[in-house]
Structure formats: structure tokens, C-alpha cells
Subunit: 239 residues, 2 copies
């Protein structure tokens, strides 16, 4: 599991040291030159690791002073970015359960949440209900394109499809476009999520792409509005 990349290794080491309070919130990391001596690397490599800490909200760099450790615990709810339900569950220990409602091979139908460009393509359709503390909270509906992933075993749908894609199939998941809206719930959804007729739901639709820019997954996640929370760490883009 050791990484080939020096800077990723340094990044991981710093993350664990920050999360274990070896480097404390409100204090400064060793300077870049000190770190480069510590890790036996050039300063630019250290800077790559720090860049990673920066974009993930672990530190804030202040010119002339140093790299300030931020209070990560406040925004540890990592629903932003691309994170699988399994990873969320593990990092938050939220006592969740997954029920696979459907797992079928089919062609992607018109009128579904999938974009026009993949309608008619072969895919595995997975519908899952997520329960948190025994209460239904989310319905996940996925189309996994068959030209990239020919088949998804039931055990994988029950556990973690991302772990299967990345570690078994060696796919490199790279980026996603997500859209969040609030919509009325249809009767099927009302029944599954156990909500009254008038209630709305939060719908997160996403398209996920591989490193080579091939689309391979289209997802619709329907959340009970009262149990939905989305936290984002954002940086201002320089103009």
C-alpha cells in the first residue's frame, strides 16, 4: 500500500499527524525548508504535498509566517468532492445499513435521469436504500456503463462499488459533475423514504468520469430533506 509518489506519502503523513493532533490546530507546521530536510526531499516536492493539504482544508498558508493548521473537525463531514457512501459511513461511523432493491442489466431508457448521450447504452442498474440508525434516509440509483464495467456482482452492490472499481478493476475515478435540486417526491419515493405526501426531497444527480475522460457512472441520490446536509470547503479562485 506504500505509495510510489513521494509527495503523496508526505501528504498522508502530514494528514495523520494533523488528525492525531501531533500538529495542533492553530499552530504552524515546520517551515518548508525544515520539512524538506525532515523528509529528505526538495522544497518543491514539499510544496506539492502542502498544496494538497491546502485544497482539502487542512492548512492555510500565510506569507512570511508559515502553514497554519486549521480546525478540520468543524468541516469533517466530507459530502463535498467525490466520496462513496461506504467511505462516508466509515469516516463518520453512522450506523448505516444498505438494502439492494434492484440489480439488473438493461439499456438506459429515455426519460431517465441519464443524459441523452448514453440513452440506449448497455448498463447495470442498481437501486439501493440507505438506512441510518434504522431510518430510511437515501435512495441511490446508479447506471454503471457495461462497456467499462461488464458486470457488478450482488456482493459488490451490497458493499462498496467504488472499492470494487478502484481496487479490483483498477479503474481511476477522476472527476464528477453534480447538481443539487429540491423536488416533490413521487409516491414510490414517499413510500420508500417514509415521508408524508407534501414533503420535498433533495436530489443529487451526478455524472462520474474516469481519468481518460470516459463517462462510466450516472447517479441519482434522493435524500430525505430533513436528514440532508452538505458541507463544502471552498477556495476563492484568483482572477
Amino acid at each position: 500500500m506504500t505509495n510510489q509518489n513521494k509527495y503523496l506519502g508526505i501528504y498522508q503523513d502530514l494528514v495523520t499527524k494533523i488528525t492525531h493532533n501531533i500538529y495542533e490546530t492553530g499552530s504552524y507546521l515546520p517551515s518548508e525548508t525544515q520539512l524538506s530536510e525532515l523528509y529528505g526531499s526538495s522544497r518543491e516536492t514539499i510544496r506539492k504535498a502542502l498544496q494538497n493539504l491546502l485544497t482539502n482544508g487542512y492548512i492555510q498558508k500565510i506569507r512570511g509566517k508559515g502553514s497554519l493548521v486549521l480546525d478540520v473537525k468543524r468541516f469533517v463531514f466530507p459530502v463535498s468532492g467525490i466520496t462513496s457512501y461506504k467511505e462516508l459511513d466509515e469516516s463518520l461511523q453512522m450506523e448505516s445499513e444498505t438494502r439492494v432493491l434492484q440489480l439488473v442489466d438493461m439499456t438506459i431508457p429515455t426519460g431517465s435521469f441519464a443524459p441523452e448521450s448514453v440513452v440506449g447504452d448497455q448498463a447495470t442498474f442498481i437501486e439501493r436504500l440507505r438506512l441510518v440508525k434504522n431510518e430510511p434516509s437515501v435512495i441511490d440509483r446508479d447506471y454503471i456503463l457495461s462497456n467499462i464495467v461488464p458486470t457488478v456482482p450482488m456482493a459488490v452492490a451490497q458493499d462498496s462499488i467504488y472499492d470494487y472499481f478502484e481496487n479490483k478493476l483498477g479503474l481511476e475515478i477522476s472527476y464528477a459533475v453534480k447538481k443539487i435540486t429540491v423536488e416533490p417526491a413521487d409516491p414510490t419515493v414517499q413510500k420508500l423514504l417514509d415521508i408524508p405526501e407534501t414533503e420535498s426531497v433533495v436530489v443529487v444527480r451526478s455524472e462520474t468520469y474516469l481519468q481518460d475522460s470516459r463517462l462510466f457512472q450516472i447517479t441519482e441520490a434522493i435524500h430525505r430533506a430533513d436528514r440532508f446536509s452538505f458541507v463544502e470547503f471552498a477556495r476563492r479562485i484568483k482572477k
Copy 2:
């Protein structure tokens, strides 16, 4: 307005060339070595510019092939990141109008959406109603901390507070933590947004920080649920 930074200049040049279709969606940018000759810079500097394009969703780099230009138009609704309402309005040309409802100096009260750490601090409170196509869509409530921004003129609240902060006061806005939830609307909100009693609203609460990590703005944005849409471009974090 010319930037001192070489790589930012290159980034901006490439952005305009992509948005003006000089580099077309689906085609590849010139290689990094070619770009470094074109711009008269080292390859690492080019790579910094490309890194910026990458995180903002303009390109996808594919090893052994090149930098593929993505279809930016699909996710041009930039509610992700830190973007002011004025900037959104300009980039989307959404025929919006702003009504300043309140602009008062006060101490931040307990029980407000502001975090404990700033309760009792002096701040400017601004409440604004945003109308899109003459329909009320969002209520923005801001506390601007007075130790950083002593006063906010009415004309600024009416126009763009970010432009004032960055270009008049020289503040460097750096990062923010945002949280999105769905909540029932209280009677005041119902009236302002012109929605029925049972309706929910989408609430985006954020804390915004300067480059030196000082908190300077706390915001609560209350959206009509039926007019709310949030699009995010996300990249998978390497483990």
C-alpha cells in the same frame, strides 16, 4: 490589470482561448513543451497554469496523450467555490435586482446563525432580497465584522460588497466553509419569498476567511426551494 504572475497570466489566456473556442471542446491543447515555448516559460510554470485549468474543470489531463478540453458550458453555473451574487449575475445575465432591506451596525446577537466565537463582536448587518425576473428568489443576511471592515456604504450593499472588499479595501478573500440544509420557512421568510406556509427553503450558511485566516464574514442565504440549483465540479482525492 496585467498580473505579475506569469502562470496566472498564462492561465487567463488559456481560459479566454477555451471560452472563445480557439481551443475547442474535445480537442487537445498544445503539449506542455510546446506551451512553454509559446509563452517563453519553463515547463513547471506551464504546469501550474494547467493545474488551475484542471481544478476549475476546463481540461482533463491524460497521460501519454495530452490536455483534453472539456465541455465547460455544461457546468457553467458556478455556485460552487466562492462567488459573489454580483459575479453570478454578470456571468449568467439573469436579470436580477437587489433590494437592501437592512443595513445597520450592531453587535452580533446570541441565537443568530453566527458561530459562538463571534457573538458580541461589532459588525455590520446587511439583509438583502434578490429578485430574478421580478420574482423574489433569495434572502441574503450578512454579518461583516467591523474590526476588518469598519463601515459598509449603502451604495456598496446595493452593488457588490466583494468588489468593494477586494478592489477598494485590498482584502484578500481566501476560503469559506459552507453548509447546505433544507428547513421550514418562518413567517417572515414566507412573506418575503412569497411562498405558501408548508413550503421549505434551502439555507446556505457560510463563514468566509481572509488570506491571513481571519474570519470576516458570516452569511445566511435563504433560497426558494423551487428556484434553487447548485452545481459542483469535483475531483476524486488521491489516497
